[in-house]
Symmetry: D2
Subunit: 276 residues, 4 copies
């Protein structure tokens, strides 16, 4: 159910990470190895920070592997911070408004996972949204509702805390309807400066999520790789699934964990504890 | 804000009415004369009854004039009852799930008009929907919410009554927020046997809507027209805007009126009186 | 490189064969077992005979599994003869005009396979087309050029002979450029009455192609299957890949063979022998 | 038949010229005043120079007015040189590969106009292309063939000369078939440093084309306009149709004229004289 990746570091042309790595994200759209599905062909999207106000977003129902616009955009936009996503629908329509990243003001949001039996609980979840958010919702995806819940629960002040409250609220709501397990949630969020990544699932068997190891180690592992040579100590990558040409360069983010990456590349993790 | 047409009568290949008349619906997608906008290029759709369970529906974000699939489908599906629509968005996204006709079970629904300041009142309107309807909503259009309200307010038992209750509810809701006028609603509905058409607006200046005159009169007006020769006394057409090659063949449906066409072509009108 | 199927027999609603069988064509779009690729997500299409002049055609860049229009059309069009196709591009663009079936007058054409190094030889192959055909070509696929070559080489008079001349011409052209092997060609053709299927490849290792066994045998194998009970002795199916819920019901069409199915279901095979 | 614009000057966010001016290009997609058609809804595209190798290109079949991806890209890409286009088909399919700009290596190409009776002469024109160009052609538009002819006739060495030879060749070819008039050609070309614009038609009644006046004059005309205050003396704009909020700021490019804009903004015109 989807794969995503994020870059936080020096400015790069996005294709470096989307198309030019072995088993990069776009390859994963066709041949995912660790995902719940092999094919993530129900749309794609990228959101990036740079010129203009807030993030730029490109979303399309084309499978990532076949999208010439994505290929061009990725090859011609340079950015220090971006999130990319390939979608495998968990049942909702294949339409642009269901594609990730979702955006609001300066915020971007990607999600791999699902709200269990979302069709049955969508009304209960949307009741917690205000008029502005309900008016803003364009599609039918669970992820879009999660994002608007997060905005309403304080994403802009305390991202991890807001996501804990969202997941707690969803778990409580579904428990009230005897729907188990409630949530699968590998989530990426950014405000253009920091990057947050969450790995969590109610059942404790979450979709995979990895962060890149420290650059010094990566360089030691690949002493003659010209592209890796260019990495700075402050560069950080988060991925649903590692690039296969960089074995050994990844730390699996543990279950129920939130990762924060700050400007300069400093990172910290903390337990992710949903609370209603 | 959209144009639509409906056919109720002998089986016809849809293109006869969509492409082969002068100023037919697809021409109106590019050159509407009576609509609020000249261009209705924000998607198109047809729903028809015939083979299979319930109606078939084709919807696309392509402008009607450019859609080769629409052209093919219209030329190769024969049906005794269909509704067709070309869309001009009143602000919501151009996406397939916002295109008409909307369908549910055996019901089809098309709408030309709008709910005023829909973004601000969407939440209030959706509160009147049950979990099933909220789960079914795929897009962001006011028309889709109107359709689901109608289903919840008894469309399947009393279509005109249900639409009166929907419009009354919307007017009441918007009045509570000091939004005036509330609704423009030229609506077409069918269950595969009967066809209902409503012309109404809160301000009393509704989008145009016409029904074809009795076939005997039409034939008298066009004594040598081969295609008109084929019309049966029971054939009925409802259109937002008349075909220009059939002048004199149309009755304007009055303000605040509901039209019902029964199998066999019998029709009756009654006042359309919204009530909260 | 694509999967296709054809039905020739009593009128059926297309979804019976596209969606309602186990491992039917749409399932093969996501999980092909015998194809050169697992995923056939680069578009889909159906062409059918029935109402209107010549065949109706629906083609879309959406993956078959995600296409609600395809689902609706398949569920609401009843036809005695149709061809359906899911595409995996061999390099050319994902666009509607590259999707199958291709059509001209009353003819439909689907192709699974490729012309080797098509980019390099497209000019040489198009030189054999007349002005009308070159003007008609809308896309960039090898299959579209093969179809127009076949039209120019006599498809309408002698379909199998024309295809033999096309393949012979392509083999000769590529041999002149030292491109080996030349062609993979599992091809389906119809004029609305008869259905032709060809299995051929220059290297003698062709994509799979199967025809259904005689209906009597199928019924004996599935004595209690209600849907199979409805089959008539004259019903025929041709598929790139068998439906998995009908094991034992298929004859593999041999290498270098052309199959003709006539009205009434009579079929015959003959060797397929390309000649320049 | 299409509208286009080009910017050559200081880096700007593209939306400044596409969305933020009165009667800018995207408004012209819906309400063209000087074009052969009012509606230019058959697709849109932008090509820009900046990060990455050669130009980035975004093309879509969505009408410009409805394309959220275009809006985002325009708002978040800053570039010193771009070409944008909204399309009104002169008969060929609405598909991404028929949308402008066309690109090859570092070259971008937009075209407003048509080759008369293109369907009948496409083969004759394509005969002048080499195998590489024929293989590269993805769509069915006359403009794409003109671009590849120009590449073959020396665009990269002498852009205006090559376009003169292309137009001469087309005129000669069509004259040989007694097709008159041959060509309408308002063309924009860039290699990322210079910008060329041509206004020509065989009949001497060409589509409109304008260049911006010298910046000093524009500033004198709009003494208090903050956005105009930011213009540099070297900034240049070429448009099919002037922005209505800048009256008096435009020079019409004369019939049969080629304009060249060099780095630094120096411009010169010369007669455009097709020769076979």
């Amino acid at each position: 159910m989807c794969r995503w990746k994020a870059w936080h570091g020096q400015p790069v042309v996005m294709e470096e990470l989307l198309f030019k790595t072995k088993h990069g994200l776009i390859d994963q759209s066709l041949h995912s190895k660790l995902g719940a599905e092999t094919t993530n062909g129900d749309g794609n999207g990228v959101g990036w920070y740079g010129s203009g106000e807030g993030p730029g977003v490109y979303r399309s129902i084309s499978p990532g592997w076949a999208d010439t616009n994505l290929r061009h955009i990725a090859a011609h936009i340079e950015t220090p911070l971006f999130l990319a996503h390939v979608r495998a629908s968990s049942g909702t329509a294949v339409q642009q408004s269901n594609c990730h990243p979702f955006s609001h003001g300066k915020w971007l949001f990607v999600h791999n996972g699902l709200v269990n039996q979302f069709h049955a609980v969508r009304r209960d979840l949307m009741l917690a949204l205000d008029a502005q958010s309900v008016g803003d919702i364009e599609g039918s995806a669970d992820s879009e509702v999660l994002f608007h819940l997060a905005l309403g629960f304080g994403l802009e002040d305390d991202p991890v805390g807001a996501l804990e409250r969202v997941v707690g609220f969803v778990e409580q709501t579904l428990r009230g309807k005897a729907i188990e397990p409630a949530v699968q949630a590998s989530i990426g969020v950014s405000d253009g400066e920091r990057l947050w990544a969450v790995r969590y699932s109610t059942e404790g068997r979450s979709r995979t999520l990895f962060r890149s190891r420290d650059v010094e180690t990566i360089k030691r592992l690949h002493p003659d790789d010209e592209r890796i040579e260019r990495l700075l100590d402050s560069d950080r990558i988060v991925v649903s699934e590692p690039f296969s040409d960089l074995p050994g360069d990844w730390h699996e983010i543990p279950e129920a964990t939130a990762l924060t990456i700050a400007p300069g590349g400093a990172w910290e993790t903390r337990p992710f504890a949903p609370r209603p």
